[in-house]
Each structure stands twice: as structure tokens, then as C-alpha cells.
């Protein structure tokens, strides 16, 4: 049993099931991110943890205590909303103290808690302002401050950074991560931004269509996606996915890929693979852009670098890297080359592929193989 347990929880509106049977358990101090495209059920799940939505069936428990039928106010949680939801008629100090006031905390104690948190977040100078007089970043801080003051068991964040501009979003992301490391609080965080998920979390639940597609650490999710959806959703640019056929050459399993000029390339799987049993099977091969490089940029620790000559269709210099687009198996494939490689559209160029990072999926079930 963990600190926060979601056991077989579901949610339906009438006959529409928006969240299917879900099991998630996290320990105290973990940072769980629920990530997925809009409509995947992540916000519904967060609202169910908060008590803002009923649970249709199943159970949610915090610290071993079932939360079914417990009011949001009595769950000892705090929430940071996408719009920040600062009370427009109260100043910053009153906003932060409101929850304590409602819970009957004495004035002197409230003031102390508010000033401590304001110091921590460096918003002490804003305490007398109204929300309307604050910038987006300041509102964001106040919203976090209002949650922190309560000193809750679990913090809930509902897309807290999506209303900020790009630069501020990155700064606040770092800030939230620092805060988590410093305070060691348990956090459930909803976002549709997979980079936020990867950078912030200790655990990620990737959601789609009301199902948790995969639950794991950021590294597990990134390196070993459970299915094609997770592979495609996590990572930017996203994982290259293209058809291939498994074959056996020299007692080792290979993936055969048809190239744009009609030739077939064979890519041996990394040592220790279990692909040989699938001889002749059609698969979807998944390789991340950073595992498709120029030869000098290939990972030197890898034991499975293989070379394919292919035609370059487009190059996209991005400053630190150059993205090079070609076609494998009839699909566009992006490789991440070093910035100073001389490569131009139309060239036949050697691509170095790190097969240690390749994953294979069944085209029908879309699940990972081997």
C-alpha cells in the first residue's frame, strides 16, 4: 500500500465511460505526472483525487484512508489550477490565507504561515496586491503559495504552466522541480506537455482514451515504451516508427527495411535480443532520432551501431543539432546529426543506427514485442 492509492477507479457520465479501470500507487514524496492529449481522462482523474468529481466505481485512498464520500476540503489536499483561480476580490495575502481561515486556523497562525510561504516563493512584496494587478508569472506563484500554505498531504497541479509564455514556462518548471526537491512533498501533476512530464516527474502515467497506457519512471517510459501510442507521444521530435520484417542472418535476428531506392537493408538487433523466434514477422520498428546519427556522432558505448546508406530528403538545422529526414520502410524518418555535418538534400549519405535503442511493436496489437 502506498501513500496515494488509486484502486480500480472508473468514471462514467451516463453511459459514456471516460476513465476505465485505473490502478496507480505512489509513495510519499513522489512526483506523479499524468500526461496525455486532451480528452484522455487525466484531468478527470485529478478531479477525482481532489473530490471535485465523484468516483463511479473503485476507490481512491490517501495515507491508507479511503476518500470516497470525503469532501474536497477534508482530504488535506491543495490544488493549483490552470487559470490559477485566484479570488479576484481578495488580495494576495487573503487569497493565501483563505483556506486556513475556512479550516478555523487562528489569525496569528495564518499570518505566520502566509509570510513563511511568501518568503519561500519571494512574493512577500505582493501580499497587498489584488490578483488583477499581477503578471502571469506572479499569479502562478501566488497560486502555488496558496497551495503550500495549507501544508497538505498531496499537491494537485492541473496544467499549471499552460497559460505562461514559453520562456516563463521553462523557468517555472525548474522552480517547481526545486521546490519539490526542497520540500519533498507528494505531487500529482497533470499536463499535456511530455517534456514537462519527463523533466519533472519521478513517475509518469501516460494516458489515452481513458486508459493508463503505461506507468513508469521517466527513463522506463522513454526507453521502453509499452506501445506505439506511448512511443509516439513521449519525446520530441517523436520516435521514428516504420514497418520492417524480422529475419535471421548468421544466427542473429535482423530487421529488414525497404529503402526509397527499392533496396532492402538489414539491421541486426542488439546482442541478447529475443527476436529470432519471430522469424518472418512483420513489425513496426521504433528508433528515436538521437539513435539515428551521422557516423562520427554515434554513441561510442553502443555495441550495435549499423550503417545504412540512404537518400537525404530534407535537412533542418536547429542550431545545436541538424535534423536529417530520409525514408525507411516508406515512412519519413528523422535523424539527429551533429550541427556541423556537411549534409544536403539529395545526397546519398551514411546513417548510423544504434540498434541498442531500437524497439519493436506488433502492428496489430500495437504492443511492444520482445
Amino acid at each position: 500500500m502506498g501513500f496515494l492509492d488509486i484502486n480500480n477507479a472508473t468514471k462514467s457520465y451516463g453511459s459514456v465511460k471516460v476513465l476505465h479501470e485505473t490502478d496507480i500507487s505512489i509513495e510519499e514524496g513522489e512526483f506523479l505526472v499524468l500526461v496525455g492529449p486532451s480528452g484522455c481522462g487525466k484531468s478527470t482523474l485529478l478531479n477525482m483525487i481532489a473530490g471535485l468529481e465523484d468516483i463511479t466505481s473503485g476507490d481512491i485512498a490517501i495515507k491508507g484512508r479511503s476518500m470516497n464520500g470525503v469532501r474536497p476540503a477534508d482530504r488535506n489536499i491543495a490544488m493549483v489550477f490552470q487559470s490559477y483561480a485566484l479570488y479576484p476580490n481578495m488580495n494576495v495575502g487573503q487569497n493565501m490565507a483563505f483556506g486556513l481561515e475556512m479550516h478555523g486556523v487562528a489569525k496569528s497562525e495564518r499570518d505566520k504561515a502566509v509570510s513563511d510561504v511568501a518568503d519561500l516563493l519571494q512574493i512577500s512584496h505582493l501580499l497587498d496586491r489584488k490578483p488583477g494587478q499581477l503578471s502571469g508569472g506572479q499569479r502562478q506563484r501566488v497560486a502555488m503559495g496558496r497551495a503550500l500554505v495549507r501544508n497538505p498531504d498531496v499537491f494537485l497541479f492541473d496544467e499549471p504552466l499552460s497559460n505562461l509564455d514559453a520562456k516563463l514556462r521553462v523557468d517555472m518548471r525548474t522552480e517547481i522541480k526545486k521546490l519539490h526537491q526542497k520540500l519533498g512533498t507528494t505531487i500529482v501533476y497533470v499536463t499535456h506537455d511530455q517534456i514537462e512530464a519527463l523533466t519533472l516527474s519521478t513517475r509518469i502515467a501516460v494516458m489515452f482514451g481513458g486508459h493508463v497506457q503505461q506507468l513508469g519512471t521517466p527513463k522506463e517510459i522513454y526507453d521502453n515504451p509499452a506501445n506505439i501510442f506511448v512511443a509516439g507521444f513521449m519525446g520530441s521530435p517523436s520516435m521514428n516508427l516504420f514497418p520492417a520484417t524480422i529475419g535471421v542472418e548468421n544466427d542473429g535476428a535482423v530487421a529488414r527495411i525497404s529503402l526509397a531506392d527499392g533496396t532492402i537493408a538489414s539491421l541486426p538487433f542488439a546482442p541478447g535480443n529475443q527476436m529470432a523466434g519471430h522469424d518472418g514477422k512483420k513489425i513496426i520498428l521504433g528508433i528515436r532520432p538521437e539513435a539515428i546519427t551521422d557516423e562520427d556522432g554515434a554513441d561510442r558505448k553502443s555495441h550495435a551501431i549499423h550503417r545504412i546508406e540512404a537518400r537525404v530528403e530534407v535537412t533542418e538545422p536547429a542550431g545545436s543539432d541538424t535534423f536529417v529526414v530520409s525514408q525507411f520502410g516508406g515512412k519519413e524518418v528523422t535523424g539527429r546529426f551533429r550541427a556541423d555535418v556537411d549534409v544536403y538534400a539529395g545526397d546519398i549519405f551514411p546513417f548510423a543506427i544504434n540498434m541498442e535503442k531500437a524497439v519493436a511493436f506488433d502492428p496489430k496489437s500495437e504492443m511492444r514485442i520482445g
Binding site: 457520465y13 471516460v18 484531468s43 478531479n47 471535485l52 468529481e53 465523484d54 464520500g69 470525503v70 469532501r71
Partner: protein, 298 residues
């Protein structure tokens, strides 16, 4: 993901039911005093009620008698004349004034205030003012004659054939400023870039309004029509104050007919039947309107 806060299914029944408890007095009031009463009156329209409600059913007799009463025929004809003129003239004046006011007019706010103030007045006040202004003995006719045009005649308010038009004059005076405000709001909601594009395409101002602007005012026309039609059917105070339904029954409208048959002539069954017909005609206009409004907002 609904836009609302769902209450928690807790053991605290009162806490969960509180919102509905708060709403329930209003709901009960409306169910009894609007829908219950509508049903009651509807029922009475099939009874032999005279001075007091009575519950002897007489079938459709009140309705067939109603349509044979001359005064009711006049009232319905008057409503058609009054309603259509009132709606058309108010819309024409309202639209014209809105378009003119939308030309970067100096003191626009002040002019708007003048156009709209009649809406704040009671129809009884409006009726009183126009009653004496249109009175041939002291009003417009007497004034013009005292200025030297001895043969000037304007006696519509005393003339059975023309009196209904004096009601149109006063009603248009009262509400056309409001219609102007509705159209002005519609005009202000039109995207300026579309107008610029049309100007670059070489459209004249006239073409601009006729082809681009006015077609986009459809929602404002709809609203104006619904509001004006519903006011026309309910018109009562203005007629009472301006002409009292006269001369004779020349300016009788369904609303005044209902009142006099029910409370003065003690023909409650017929009064109830006429009220039912008024309700049906308003429902025919309002129900689709409310329906579309509620569906849009889901």
C-alpha cells in the same frame, strides 16, 4: 469534463441537497403561479364560468362564441394591423438610426441617451402625453390652427378608422430607440476587417451596408422581432391610457378584450379562452427562441 462542480456523494444528505433546497422555493412558485395558473385558466376556458369560476364543462363552446363576437374580431384585426406596423416601423427607424449613429457621430452617447429614455417610462405616462398631444381640441391640431393654418385637421384619435394608428405612433416612440440599441450592438459586433476587405474590393457605402452589413444583422433582427412581437401581443397599458379601447371598440386589442370580458362583463369563460389564445400565440414565438437559446448554451 463538465463545467460544473459536482457535489460529493457523502453521508451528509443535507449538504448535498442544499443547492436544490435553495432553488426549490422559486421552482415551486413558478410551477404553481405560472404553470398551475396557466392550466387553471386553460381549464376555465372550457367551463361555463361567468362572474366566478365554475367547473361545469361546456367543451369548445367558449371558443366558438369568442370567434363570433364582433369585438374579438376587431381586437384580432387590430392586433394584426398594430403588430405588423409596430414591428416594421420600429425596425426601420431603429436600423436607420443605428446605422447613422455608427458614423463616428459627435455626442453619440448623448444622442443615444435621448433615443432610449422613453423605454424607462411607464406606458401610462407615454399614453397620457400622447393622448393630450394628439387631442384635436388642445393638441397638435389646435396648435397648428393657432399658428394660422385654420383648416389643418388631425383627428385620428377620435376617428374609429384611424385611432389604431395613434397607438402605433406612441408605441413606436416608446420602443424604437431600444431597437436602435439592439442594432447598434449588432453593428459594433461586425468585424472591421471584413468591411476593409469589401472597401478594397470597391464596394460603395450603400453596397457595403446592403450586401455585407445588414445580412450580418440577422440575429439582431431576430431578437428585435421576438421582443416587439411579444410586446405587441401583451399591449394593454398603452391602449388603456391612450384611447381606453375607443372610440367605441375601435382600438380594442386582445389584452383589453380579455380584461373587459372577464372583469367587467363577467364572461370569465370567454375571457379565459381569449387569454389562452394570447398565450398560444406568444408561445409560438417564444418557445422556439428559448429552445434555441438553451441548446446553444449547453
Amino acid at each position: 469534463m463538465s463545467n460544473t462542480v459536482r457535489s460529493q456523494t457523502g453521508n451528509d444528505w443535507l449538504r448535498d441537497a442544499l443547492p436544490r433546497i435553495v432553488l426549490s422555493p422559486s421552482l415551486v412558485i413558478v410551477l404553481v403561479f405560472v404553470y398551475g395558473f396557466i392550466f387553471f385558466t386553460f381549464y376555465l376556458s372550457f367551463t361555463d364560468s361567468r362572474i366566478l369560476p365554475s367547473f361545469g364543462l361546456v367543451g369548445w363552446q367558449n371558443y366558438s362564441r369568442l370567434f363570433s363576437i364582433r369585438a374579438w374580431g376587431i381586437a384580432v384585426d387590430n392586433l394584426l394591423i398594430f403588430g405588423s406596423l409596430y414591428i416594421v416601423i420600429s425596425c426601420v427607424i431603429g436600423l436607420a438610426l443605428a446605422i447613422f449613429l455608427d458614423q463616428k457621430i459627435r455626442a453619440e452617447g448623448f444622442i443615444r441617451t435621448i433615443y432610449l429614455y422613453p423605454m424607462a417610462l411607464s406606458f401610462i405616462v407615454t399614453g397620457t402625453a400622447w393622448k393630450w398631444f394628439l387631442d384635436p381640441g388642445i393638441g397638435l391640431q389646435a396648435v397648428v390652427r393657432s399658428w394660422g393654418w385654420e383648416s389643418f385637421t388631425f383627428e385620428w384619435i377620435k376617428d374609429s378608422d384611424m385611432a389604431i394608428y395613434t397607438i402605433v405612433i406612441a408605441a413606436v416612440w416608446q420602443t424604437s430607440g431600444f431597437v436602435m440599441a439592439m442594432f447598434l450592438a449588432g453593428l459594433r459586433g461586425i468585424d472591421n476587417e471584413v468591411l476593409k476587405a469589401a472597401q478594397i474590393d470597391g464596394a460603395s457605402n450603400w453596397a457595403l451596408y446592403r450586401r455585407i452589413v445588414i445580412p450580418q444583422l440577422r440575429p439582431a433582427f431576430m431578437s428585435a422581432f421576438v421582443v416587439l412581437a411579444h410586446m405587441a401581443i401583451k399591449s394593454y397599458d398603452l391602449v388603456i391610457a391612450l384611447t381606453g379601447g375607443g372610440p367605441g371598440t375601435a382600438t380594442e386589442l386582445p389584452a383589453t378584450f380579455m380584461y373587459s370580458y372577464t372583469f367587467t362583463r363577467n364572461q370569465m369563460g370567454i375571457g379565459a379562452a381569449s387569454a389562452t389564445i394570447m398565450l398560444m400565440s406568444i408561445a409560438a414565438i417564444m418557445v422556439p427562441y428559448i429552445w434555441s437559446e438553451l441548446r446553444e448554451k449547453k
